[in-house]
């Protein structure tokens, strides 16, 4: 959304088929074929079967052969069962959109951390397995594309909680390994809680919570004032807890790696309005 707003032809792709992206963009169900959902912003959902058909038709020029004999069934089978094929079809399709310059920017919502490395490795792994043949020729450029830091970058998104931080650090480490190709471009920390109090204010808050002052406040503002103080105490604890995870993350990352913060959104909706808010925060951070 941010890139499209800056005048770049942008494609955003969902890879898990959950339909979540279409809902967030309030664009209805998405298809394999990219559709412009906002000016300059197209959205698609990955479908490996469609990707294979497109690949066969475009890259190998075998539109008819793919429909005859055991071949169609065989490839259906491969895409569903043989390891690595779904990965290469996903990465291949997106890489192709970049190679053909259909878009200035392709943003991919990758699968869970454990899987994304497998996807990024797929072209290299297949390259190792195949010494010749058309697939080998096709994966060569893909490996180059993914390995070029000026073209491809992984944005690791995490939250200031224990497991997300552990996984993010783990992922950044794995991406640094030679055989993955693409490297980390930035780390985005989502759902950062705002600092509630400034310097000295927390002392005032602590004393407000003392029984005498709490009682006085309840007498003046109503009994429910106690509940409001409890909620603020919870907010302070959560913030402090997340701050620890945030420091652990920072400590584990190369200081030269850009870190962007997106605050917790206290918003009612999940749609385009909320997306716009996130985009604005990212714009500020960038």
């Amino acid at each position: 959304m941010l890139a499209a707003g800056q005048g770049r032809r942008t494609l955003v792709c969902e890879t898990d088929g959950s339909g979540h992206l279409g809902q967030l963009l309030e664009a209805g169900p998405l298809a394999f074929k990219g559709r412009e959902v906002q000016p300059l912003l197209s959205a698609m959902t990955m479908n490996t079967e469609e990707s294979l058909k497109e690949y066969l038709a475009l890259q190998l020029k075998v539109p008819l052969l793919s429909r005859i004999g055991p071949l169609a069934r065989a490839f259906d089978f491969i895409a569903n069962a043989a390891p690595g094929v779904k990965e290469i079809l996903t990465v291949g399709k997106l890489g192709w959109e970049v190679k053909e310059d259909h878009y200035d920017l392709v943003v991919v919502d990758a699968p869970a951390t454990g899987h994304v490395v497998g996807q990024l490795r797929a072209p290299q792994a297949i390259n190792e397995l195949l010494s010749v043949g058309l697939v080998r020729e096709q994966t060569g450029w893909l490996v180059d594309l993914l390995g070029d830091a000026a073209v491809t970058g992984v944005v690791v998104v995490t939250a200031p909680e224990e497991m997300p931080v552990v996984e993010a650090l783990d992922l950044v480490g794995q991406l640094a390994a030679d055989d993955v190709g693409a490297g980390t471009a930035a780390v985005v920390v989502n759902r950062v809680l705002p600092e509630l109090f400034g310097r000295g204010e927390e002392v005032v808050f602590d004393r407000l919570c003392e029984p005498g002052n709490r009682g006085a406040l309840q007498a003046a503002a109503g009994d429910a004032a106690g509940t409001v103080l409890d909620a603020a105490r919870l907010a302070v604890t959560l913030r402090r807890n997340r701050a620890e995870h945030l420091s652990a993350l920072r400590a584990g990352l190369d200081p030269s790696l850009p870190m962007l913060y997106v605050p917790e959104l206290f918003a009612r909706t999940h749609g385009v309005r909320a997306l716009r808010q996130v985009a604005d925060h990212l714009a500020e951070e960038l």
């Binding site: 959950s18 055991p70 071949l71 010749v132 552990v166």
Partner: protein, 380 residues
Amino acid sequence: MNLEQLLAAKEIVVTCGSGGVGKTTTAAALGTLAATQLGGKVLVLTVDPARRLADAMGIGPLGNVAVQVRPEVFAAAGVEPRGELWAAMLDTKQSWDDLVERHAPDAATREAILANPLYRNITSKFVQSHDYIAMERLYELHASGDYDLIVVDTPPSRNAIDFLEAPARMAEFFSSRFLRLLIAPARNRFVNVASRPFYTVADRILGSQFLEDIAEFFILFQSMYAGFVERAHAVERVLADRRTTFVVVTTLEASPVREAEFFVEALAAKHLHLGAVVLNKVLPGYLLDEDAATVAGRLRADGPAVAAAAGVQLGPAAEVGRVLAEVGDSFLNFQVVAKREAEQRAELSVGTEVVATVPYQDHDIVDLAGLVQLADHLRR
């Protein structure tokens, strides 16, 4: 029926849900609950290398071999367990090697498979192999009869039901016609006219070297086909067995809730038993209090006046007023989130009578006492 009764009635509990909802921790807490309250020998099998969780159980780095939580760790947490608590982590590569070890007809075949580059790629680099091996390992542990209860958390999946389908896919893979086609030319150079176009195209696309590699690999594997396919079906049967139940874990955020609903539907479609839904990290109910919202609104709009009326003098009046305004603002912010959660909860159709709610923990679980506390919430 509550979670404790569910654990008492089952031999395998599989926790599932989208990433980040606390699946692994819930699995560990369920295991702790069973070991402390029900007794017997309980195993928590995790696919998640959460070091802190292993530390919490006082067992250091986990591997394929199960380790027992020592009695003194329970003592330090102030509980006396009625049974034993064990934990193990899934080591994908090791588990595959074990599987080959078991099914290989002789040492030569075994070594050839373990050394085959294609085998190494399949087992270590590709995603689906994790899903399958997790279920396979579960089957094996259950079949060993060593444990009264096994609680297993599932690998984070691109698609939550991938691992449920993994055994069937594996069986399909090893018994497919396509594999036979690939292997045929290597075994018998005579290829009939009907399938010749297939090889021409396959050759063109994949290269003959790869075809030979893959054929060699599968010829080696062929000696184990029967064992593999039979095994995959056995794994499937165990998942569908009435002694197995599934616990869906979710937070009350839009996307995990949708995933949870999807999962509940998938279980029903596959005739698998949904035992419970655990709502994790739920904000406290007092955030929905309307009286408190009114007070918070006043504090936010006019903190200094409330401070003056209350007569609290804790420093400069302006500062106290500002703190009260922040306090009010924070309440209203969190109320928005709490309301969002309440809506998600109202919409969530779970299709089970057992729904456990675990409140947002304001601290991480660093020891067994934390897991025991979590187990207490799950019991309610």
